[in-house]
């Protein structure tokens, strides 16, 4: 087992938390029963790493086998790196006939054409997602397994999620993806976050959505906190309509856990109390960043508690509507009011 494989294994062991060690190794399945018995999982991680290194030496494992272990761990816990969403555009006619083996072969061959030394591993996960691990090299050096890129693609959807990709390598990956999925172009979807499940659910709208209805009366029974009957009587209707609007704008139930949203504002300053600034020609430049452990939940609470008024027409509702969390707002771009949904009758 060469040095790079050893280093890779040490790094993987550092990353895997202690309680996940046994299940991950079992899933890997490359240790014999006797070897598995000999690993005492109550020891310190350092001791376990040494033991595992010895076992891998014994089994004469190569880097290829070690990367399998890393991939298993990342598929189980995708939340420790930043994910960026990309969207494929302009499908060709046979886009729906792309199936897994064809995609795999095409992707590998296209990427290998573009860059000589690259190590690709493709795996299909149970939930229809295709996971790709790419270790990049160049014409002179072997693939660097310590800085791999992970790509997740759901076949039959135009969305691709990638981690850590340098700007030099991005066009190569984009080209390979476009050719193998039978689309014509790929663009940045302006959505990024730590939790892969969150950004995937947001883009593919896999959370409970609420559509505008004319008679939302079942809602009134849900609010059980009757602290003061008179106040509740006054406020009940207002509160119910606020809740309804909040749910229409952001969704119901558990919302995808986005962590942040960034808006780059380059609009003119308009304030009727301040004539000088309103007459100014240049844009008022500022950047606003919203951050929270669960951003959409916070925004929905802002809307339902009245801190945010008219949530449907504000820029904040564009996050779930367009599935993005990076926006550049200028005076020429269409305002959010043009996206109000038509009520369904």
């Amino acid at each position: 087992m060469d040095d790079s494989a050893r280093r890779l294994l040490q790094r993987i062991m550092r990353r895997i938390p202690a309680q996940m060690l046994k299940p991950t190794l079992d899933k890997w399945g490359r240790l014999t029963a006797a070897q598995r018995q000999s690993m005492d999982f109550t020891e310190s991680k350092w001791a376990l790493t040494e033991k595992l290194l010895a076992i891998c030496e014994e089994n004469e494992m190569t880097v290829k086998h070690i990367t399998e272990l890393e991939m298993i761990h990342v598929i189980e816990n995708p939340d420790h790196c930043m994910w960026y969403a990309l969207q494929l555009m302009d499908p060709e006619e046979d886009v729906h006939s792309v199936e897994l083996t064809q995609f795999k072969e095409q992707f590998k061959s296209h990427l290998r054409e573009l860059i000589r030394h690259v190590s690709i591993k493709i795996k299909k996960h149970t939930d229809e997602a295709v996971w790709i691990r790419i270790a990049w090299g160049d014409s002179f050096s072997r693939p660097n397994h310590l800085k791999p890129t992970y790509v997740v693609h759901h076949l039959q959807t135009p969305y691709v999620f990638v981690t850590s990709l340098t700007s030099k390598l991005k066009p190569l990956l984009s080209q390979a993806l476009v050719l193998s999925t039978r689309y014509q172009a790929i663009k940045d979807a302006s959505l990024s976050g730590r939790k892969l499940t969150a950004i995937r659910d947001l883009l593919m709208r896999q959370y409970q959505q609420v559509f505008p209805t004319k008679y939302p009366s079942p809602l009134a029974e849900n609010d059980q906190n009757a602290s003061n009957i008179l106040i509740n009587k006054e406020q009940a209707e207002l509160a119910a309509s606020r809740h309804q609007k909040a749910r229409e704008a952001f969704g119901d139930g558990m919302l995808p856990q986005l962590q942040s949203a960034v808006y780059k504002l380059e609009t003119k300053f308009r304030d009727h109390t301040n004539k000088t600034m309103t007459e100014r020609e240049e844009a008022f430049r500022c950047v606003v960043k919203f951050a929270s452990t669960n951003l959409l939940e916070s925004l929905r609470h802002c809307a339902s508690s009245g801190i945010a008024s008219t949530p449907g027409t504000s820029l904040l509702s564009s996050i779930p509507l367009k599935g993005r969390n990076y926006f550049v707002i200028t005076d020429n771009s269409p305002g959010p009011s043009s996206q109000t949904r038509q009520p369904s009758n």
Binding site: N274, M277, C286, V288, H301
Partner: protein, 398 residues
Amino acid sequence: MERLQSSVVRTPPNSTVVQRRSKSYRQSYRSCLGAPSRLGLTPGLTARRLNSSRRALKSHVITVSHTNPSLTIFYVLLNLQRETLNGHVFYPVLFLLKEKVNPEHLALLVKTEWRLSYVTPLHQFRHTQLKRYSRQLSAFIAAEKQQGVAMEVEGSQSGFRVSFSVVQGLAATDDDAETVLIQIYSTPVFARQDEPQKSVWSGWLTCINGNPEYLESLPKGFTCLPLFGGSGAEVLTSLVKSWFQRTFDCCFGPLEINHTSLQWLAALWTNCHTESNLQHLKMIWTLPVVPPLQVTYTVNPQDAWELWMSVRKDRLERTEEEAEAGSIDIEEVVRFVQGLKSHFYRHFRLDLSAGNLNQVSTTLGSAKSSGKIKISNSRYMITTLTLLTECALLKMPI
């Protein structure tokens, strides 16, 4: 020494009025400001207020080299009239050259983030006895260590050396006591003979532009150094504070920077954009939703400055008095921040007043509502410390 024009106190229009209960019969700080009833407090009549207007932020160049560093303080008033882009002339800028402040002290003050507290007046504190205080404090720390107070500070096996020093040149008026700087050094455990000691804790006590009526009303024997800043291990901070409390019969308390002061700092720093590039004006708000939402609002410095100037221009056009031109009023500060909030509201329909302003930062410094301040540019140290001294004096219970 000619006193600078004192800030004009005006009744602020609305929300800067804060009420406080006090049963003290001694002339308290608040009684120097207004005309409260000595017999108790009728809410609504007595109000504790921050100064509602201040001098424009002057840049005190306090490190200029001086041929005669010992004595002479001289003032050079340069009335510079500058033209803005629109051809408007604005207020004259004053430069003051003072005696040199020790550059080492200055470097220490500028590069650290300080946790602030207020201090009640110290009884029998002598600036001439600093060496004795240094010895007493080191002995105190050693004694506490022996008693078993948990000390996780590095180098706890060797002794601590304490050094008290006076920072000359920061006091703005005759009434201000000189700033005192305290540093605690420790020798690392495996140090060689000639290795210099590492500073593990530093702190200072200061009073800059303290309210003169209050300072004069203090009984003899009391020194007022109401603002305390410390940086380093929390254990050492509490030891230093308890030593001060025992020796000088004073009281320490946490000093938060409330949103009015943060707004003042935002406006005062924006005011300096032409002199030193701010690079950005960043404000952090927290909205009280579940889970809490943090909004970071970063404004381009040039645009922030133009907004500030437009607010000032409106007010300057309305006042005729020339003397007012150099001072900034609380109304302007409030209108400036209100303008920023309304721009935000126009886009997001979120009223930032529903949240708390937690932090304001620019390249000139950063201030957090939890009571942490960092002054990154020595030129604006005096004015920032003046504001903080005022906050400390207001928060003091006596």
